[in-house]
Structures are given as structure tokens and as C-alpha cells.
Symmetry: C2
């Protein structure tokens, strides 16, 4: 089977995988300072080609220039942030247990543990973030930072952008001293699946639909040697609103909701798919007024448009669904769809009755306003109908700060990776405390795909016991040549255990 | 379906799972100091019943009293060590990003992330460590420390010990203020599988055979909402010996090997299943002499004995296998098997030819000496024949400290969780830097089941964004009431990114 990247049409899957394995061996010889420098150079190279890359992305995705420039900057910042993580070294979680003849359970050997790269990582790129979750995106940055070569399965929605990004970034990495093959691109779908089953691939990351993500996760689990599959499969991101919040700032709140649903034509995995309001709330006028200002936006590609049409029809066909604000949908001569946002409403009971037809994600500028009876236990509703999300948002009134509300906030944390108070979930900060990943079905495996903690997905612990200094990997040596932070368990300290 | 613990014969699986879910909600209200105290009390309660527990274990497992007393102490130390981890709070990995209007990618909200318990954990106990990997063993201690209720599926090899341990420990936990149902025991095999598929169970741990572990892992992955399955499935733990090491200390080395294979009748997941020596090495006499001192030992139970007989026959039937030291095997009137150790040898080429028949684990006092041609690339042999192990051991001569040997040590780290220099893999220290878990097939999912890092398997990240102080979980509040270590990203610091 050939891997068919346009830049290397004749390479086989096995050739790509073996190249990654060879690069992994080479990367192990590279000092972390060089790896950090390579990430910074990759960021700089993207900046040097910004005009060309953004123009290509505009044509291929229909996303607006300002959004794409912001996303490219985010992608550069991700790479530089991980350079910082690599240089710091705390991510290695180095633990040194001194040999201890008086250890409470009998003599303890000298034990030195750190986290090490898992090996070549396969990264299935997303359609909706052609920079930030694609060839040089967050998963690639995290894996490279960990010391893993990356094979990207490019998304067919932006093929030329993928090729150019791969050329630019791979070139920068090699120039910085990383091995050839540290970053590779394949474009063929079957090649992606074959690589997922190749013994040299040690972990996979994915951002995309539930259906495809679950299929691929099952393939990864069915290998003779299963590998972790970190899939981010989207989310419906319910927003819970109290009567007090609406009373205080109803119009602003509803305008914020419409803006969060409409940005990037709703093609964001953190788009609020549901707004839960107390019954009797008046929201139609405010939603219609805010939505009137939203310009027509192209959907990413005809396949996304097909899915959007299908899901919108399913929701509109469900019992008890009322259209609050009908959106537009038209195809142009190239088969691309142009849309404006649609909002519908449904009672909590009708939502229960409709089930998946309404509860499943609609990827695009569409959202459902759910009217709940006053006094409803919102935590129970989330557990029942929305058990796994990337985000859950709670809009409270200024005075709602009781222990009950504190318990609700904590309970929401059981069903999401990020819990927001009185904000909007779209817009994900790239920063140490970010969590982008939540209980199933939001992600297949615990972990975050945004923020510095994302590096942990591509690391595994290995302990070296009683190794002479000369044979130890650098971060475990007494002289600590990389100057990484380390936690020492001294001899003689175990009596208290 | 009934869960049929003898102490509660009429409880259904659903009842057990709901009880665990209710205990989880209760545990969330318990301060970490109370949780730490409860772990210490559980350890103390085990100590108070040591004589009774050890006597029961001796009858049910055939393991020697000294070994069982040591194991019970280890189990107590594990609980106390995790009490220390809970009280310290570093395991929460708290990260606070200050709100930053000048953040490099636009205004950053206030973000506060920590690791939280995943929910009820199902723990499939092992047969070979009736204390340390059973009802109150390492997986239970790690999950309780994380704040997760535990349902133990007891091993049928030591049913009464399991019941008594569960009564003693569950009682101590409740007395310390933890909710009823924080620790539960089920004994029925089908109940264990049904619990693995119950929506309230959020993670599973397992210590046992590859066959059963892989079956259960597949069930966990096939759930509509897959949960992590941390299976420790055993290992063959190759020991690589150089000519220089043999020359220096051949007799002592071979005596150490025999002792490591024979302890606890070889029924340890870190038993060295293979010793690789340069061809032309004389080892027969030393092995036979050392093995002569090993007393007959009972195998754990008739089912283990059946497996041992079957696997030994398979190895002995393979082409090129020569018996170095035949072991004994007899059944007593109760159907229990009594054994002495068996050692065989094979050339590297014959091992390649024999494949799984010889390469698969033999659980019991049996090991294979492999003669490799001098000059063989040992790292390549490990990658080819032994790709995933709990441990790999390298015996070098005193002068063998070159860069080549350093590269070999690092390469071994790709195929094991623990790499030992000139030691023996049996005897696993319970301590912060331990790693007990390695690449497939040794474990199903990355992680360690021994040492303080084991807690990480039962935690997931959740970030709270822009939450008022009053609504934040304790470890994220400005006043840090639990006094946990935290990493702060201050405002104004992102320009360098």
C-alpha cells in the first residue's frame, strides 16, 4: 500500500513507519535544548510563510482571514510553549530513590524513574482547524516536544495547505538538527488506517467525528499490541442558565450565546450545542436580533455540509422542536454550502423523548434552547442527558454563591474537562492549566489535547535500577547535565511509612 | 445477576455499582486529611489481624509464612505511603493560570486545573499476592488515595482471606469517616464482567494472565462509553548476561538466577523467564548445584498447576530444547501440586524457530537459558523476541561502561518498565520511583501498578474557568485550604512564548 503524499507519491506505509522508527532512534540522541530550538524554528518558519499559508487556507476551508491569522499565531505559540516545556524539564517527572539499606521493607536499590517518549506517533488531523489541529498543530507539537517522531495523516479538506505546512515545518526541524523523518505527512485514508496498525506506531491522536474516531479507536485496541488512541470526538457543550442570571443580564447573555454558536460558522468542538433556560423565559426576540447581524459563512467543505444538512433535518423532524430563528443554507456553483445560524427550542421532556435525534452533535451554526421546569436538579439532567463533554458552562446570578451552587460546579466537573462560570466555551486558551478532553464520548482516552499537559499522552514511565552513573540516561545522572527538576526520596526516610 | 460475596450473598451487580456511585459522591465531601487517616487506619487494622490473616493465606495459597508476613507488611506500607501522597497533595498537579488581559493570544481567563478522581474503580485481584495485589493491595490503595471507591473482584484462589480482608479494611475505612460502600467485594466471575460493563464503573485494574486480561480489556473497550483498563498481564523478564560478567562472577550470578526463579515457586510476574548467555558458557553444574538447595514448594492452586504443566510440556516438546535441571512435579491428595524448579536451555536460533511455544510465559519455577552467538546485538534480540516486559536486566562486567553499553541500557528502556543493572527483577520496591508496567503485552495501558505514581491511573484533569472563589473546589481556591503545592502562570508572562 502506498502512502501517497503528493510530495512523495511512491512511498509505502512500511517505508513511512520505518522512517519514523529510525527518526525515533535519532531523536533519542538529541539534547532537549536542540529539540526546543527546533520547535521555535518551526514556529518561525510558519511565520515567514504566513501570507502564503493563510491564503491557501482561505481557499481550502472558507474560513475568514482574521480567524486564520489568529489560528496560525496560536499554532506558533503552541510550538514555542512546548519549547519552553522541553527546556524546563519538569514534564519528565524525574524521581530518584536513594539506595537505602534500612528501607522499611528491606534494602532498597537505587531507583531512578523518568517519563520517556513512547515512540512514533500517528496524528489524524482535523478539518476545522487547518493550522492548530492539523499538520503542525497541538498534537504534533506535544508529540515532538515529548521526543516522538510524528506521522500526520493530513485532512482531505485542506490538502495543499497540509503539504506546504509539512514541507516548511519538516525542513525547519531538520535544519535545527533533528533527524530526517521526524515529521512526515501521508494523505491516503487507507494508509492512515494501515499505519495505525503498524508495529512501529506507538500511539495515535485524532480530532474529528465520533463515528470515525470510534472506528479508529477500535482498530488501535484490536492490535496484537494495543496502543493508546487519544481521540477528541467533539462535544455538545451544554450551557446551563439560572433565572437569576437571565434576570440580571438576559439580553447580553443571549447575544453572547448567539455569537459563540455562530463564530467560525459553529464548526468548533466547543460550540454550545444546548442552552438550558428556565421555562417561561422570553428569548426569541433577543436571539433573532443577535442572529440578524451574523453574516453568511461558508462551511468547511461539501462533506461537512452534507452532515450538517442531515443533522439539522433530524432535529427539525423531532417531536416538540420549535424553530426560534431559521438559518439560511445554500450551495454555490462549486458545491460549497453557505449558511447563517439556526436556533430551535424544545422542552426538557420533549428532549428526553427525542433522544439521539436531538442530543447528538450538530457540527455547524445550530443550537438548541432547552426549557427546564424551575427547580430542576441541573446536575442530574447533565448526568442523564449530557454525561461526557469537553465543556460545561454555568451562568449564575451575582448572588448565587451558596454551597449548593458550589456542589453543582463540582458535580459538573464529573461530566466535562472544563467547567466555565458565566462565560462561553469557544476560544480555548493554550496555556498550562487548560484541559481540552472529557469523559466519553468527548474523548476516547483521558488526557488533554490543548495546553502543556498534552505532552503527558506521549510519555511512559521507565525506571533504571542500580545502573552505574556512566550508563544512565542524562536526566537521571547525579550531575544532572540537563538541569531538570527532580524529586529525591532520601535514604533513611521510610520509617514514617 | 447476583454479586455473591459470602458476606452479602443477595446483592445484585446493580446494587453494588450504585452503592459505589453513592460512596463516590460522599467521598468528594471528605477532606484529604480524613482520607489519609482512613488509609493509615486500614493499615493498622490489617496489622491487628495479622496472625489470623497470615494463617488463612497459608492454607489457601500454600505460600510460606515468612513470605506472607513480609507481603502483609508491604501491603500496610503501601496504604501508609499513599496516605503520605494524599496528605502531600502534589499528585493533584494543581495549575493556576492567572487571568491575563495581555496574553499573547488575546485576553486569557482565569484557569485552574487539577486532577480529580475518575469515579468507582473495579479491581480484579491476583492469585499470587493474596495481600499486596488483592483486596487491600496496591491498586485498591492507589484508587482509594485518588478518592475513588473500589469494588474488588476477589480471586477464587483465596476466598476466605478476601472476605476477611474486605471486612477488616472496609470497617476501618468507615470508622475513619469514609462513606459506607467505599470498599466492596464481589466474588462471582460473571458479576465481575457485568460490573466492568456497568456505567457507574469508571476504570478497572487487573493483575493476572494475558488471556483473561486481554478478554477483559476488550470488554472495557467495547462499552458504549469505553473506560480505561489497567491490566498487568505478566512478563518473561529476560536477563542479558555478557561474557565479562560471567567471567567475573559466573557462579554467584548463576546462583542468583536460580534463587530469583525459585522464590515463591516462580509465581511472580517479575520472575526471570529467560537468561541470555554467550554460547560456550558452562552453566549446567552451577545451576544444578544451586537448584539442589531449593525445597519443594506448593503451587498456588490446582488451576495454576494445570497451566504450569501444560506450558512446561510445550517448552519441553519444542525442537532444540535441552533439559539442564529437571524439576519435580507431584500432586497431593487434595489435588495441590508440589514442585521444584526446572531449567532448560536452547540456542537463539532454536528459540526463534520455536516461537510462542517457548517464548510465552511459564508461570512457576521454570526458566530458559538462551545461548546467543558472541557479538550478537542484544538490543535487536530484545526488540525481536521480547518487545514488551515489566523488567529487563543486564549483567555487565565491571569495566563495561562505554557509550555502547549506555546506548544498550537506554534501548532496553524501550521494551520494559524497569531496567536493572546486575541485579534480579523479583522483589519490587514500593517507593516513588518504582515503575511496574511496561509495553504490551506486559500491561494493557501505560501506567504503573506499584509505587506512588500508580495513583495517576485513577485521576483525570478538569479545569475551572472564571469561577468565583466561593464556588471553587478547595485545592483551587486562592487561600489554598489544603495547602497543596501549585504551579502558577502569572499574568504578563506570555510575551516570551
Amino acid at each position: 500500500m502506498t502512502a501517497t503524499a503528493a510530495s512523495a507519491p511512491d512511498r509505502t506505509v512500511d517505508d513511512v513507519a520505518r522512517t519514523a522508527a529510525a527518526a525515533f532512534a535519532g531523536l533519542a540522541q538529541v539534547a532537549p535544548a536542540t529539540r526546543a530550538d527546533a520547535l521555535r524554528r518551526a514556529a518561525a518558519a510558519l511565520g515567514e510563510h504566513a501570507d502564503e499559508l493563510v491564503a491557501t487556507a482561505q481557499v481550502e476551508t472558507g474560513l475568514a482571514e482574521a480567524r486564520l491569522r489568529g489560528e496560525l499565531k496560536r499554532t506558533q505559540v503552541q510550538l514555542r510553549l512546548f519549547a519552553h516545556v522541553v527546556a524546563d524539564g519538569a514534564y519528565l517527572d524525574v524521581r530518584l530513590d536513594e539506595a537505602d539499606p534500612d528501607f522499611v521493607l528491606g534494602p532498597r536499590p537505587d531507583l531512578r524513574r523518568a517519563l520517556w517518549p513512547v515512540g512514533p506517533v500517528l496524528n489524524f488531523a482535523a478539518s476545522n482547524f487547518p493550522f492548530a489541529f492539523s499538520v503542525a498543530g497541538g498534537d504534533t507539537a506535544a508529540a515532538l516536544a515529548a521526543g516522538c517522531p510524528v506521522i500526520v495523516k493530513g485532512h482531505p479538506g485542506h490538502p495543499w495547505l497540509s503539504e506546504r505546512t509539512a514541507q516548511i515545518v519538516a525542513g525547519a526541524l531538520v535544519e535545527a538538527g533533528l533527524p530526517e523523518g521526524t515529521l512526515q505527512l501521508v494523505t491516503d485514508q487507507d494508509a492512515g488506517v494501515a499505519l495505525l496498525e503498524h508495529p512501529s506506531v506507538r500511539a495515535a491522536a485524532f480530532t474529528g467525528s465520533q463515528r470515525v474516531g470510534q472506528l479508529l479507536a477500535a482498530r488501535a485496541a484490536a492490535r496484537p499490541d494495543p496502543v493508546p488512541f487519544f481521540g477528541e470526538l467533539g462535544s455538545v457543550n451544554p450551557v446551563l442558565v439560572t433565572a437569576a442570571a437571565l434576570e440580571e443580564r438576559g439580553d447580553a447573555l443571549l447575544a453572547g450565546y448567539v455569537a459563540s454558536v455562530s463564530g467560525s460558522a459553529g464548526q468548533l468542538c466547543t460550540k454550545p450545542g444546548f442552552l438550558l433556560v428556565p421555562d417561561g423565559t422570553a428569548y426569541d426576540d433577543a436571539v433573532v436580533a443577535a442572529a440578524a447581524d451574523v453574516p453568511e459563512h461558508r462551511l468547511l467543505n461539501p462533506s461537512i455540509a452534507d452532515g450538517y444538512e442531515r443533522r439539522v433535518s433530524a432535529v427539525l423532524g423531532a417531536d416538540g422542536v420549535r424553530v426560534v430563528r431559521p438559518g439560511g443554507f445554500r450551495r454555490d456553483a462549486d458545491g460549497q454550502a453557505w449558511v447563517t445560524p439556526t436556533f430551535v427550542s424544545v422542552s426538557l421532556d420533549a428532549l428526553r423523548g427525542a433522544g439521539e435525534a436531538v442530543l447528538d452533535e450538530v457540527f455547524g451554526p445550530f443550537s438548541v434552547i432547552v426549557e427546564y421546569p424551575r427547580g430542576t436538579d441541573l446536575a442530574a439532567v447533565v448526568g442523564e442527558l449530557f454525561p461526557g463533554n469537553l465543556t460545561l458552562t454555568l451562568h449564575l446570578g451575582a448572588g448565587e454563591t451558596s454551597a449548593d451552587q458550589g456542589a453543582l460546579v463540582s458535580a459538573l466537573g464529573e461530566h466535562a474537562g472544563r467547567v466555565l462560570l458565566s462565560g462561553w466555551p469557544t476560544g480555548v486558551a493554550v496555556t498550562p492549566a487548560m484541559q481540552h478532553g472529557g469523559p466519553s464520548p468527548a474523548t476516547t482516552t483521558d488526557g488533554t489535547s490543548v495546553g502543556t499537559a498534552a505532552i503527558g499522552r506521549f510519555l511512559r514511565g521507565v525506571t533504571f535500577q542500580d545502573a552505574p552513573q556512566e550508563l544512565l540516561p542524562a536526566p537521571l545522572r547525579d550531575d544532572n547535565p540537563w538541569d531538570v527538576p527532580r524529586t529525591v526520596s532520601p535514604r533513611g526516610a521510610s520509617a514514617e511509612w
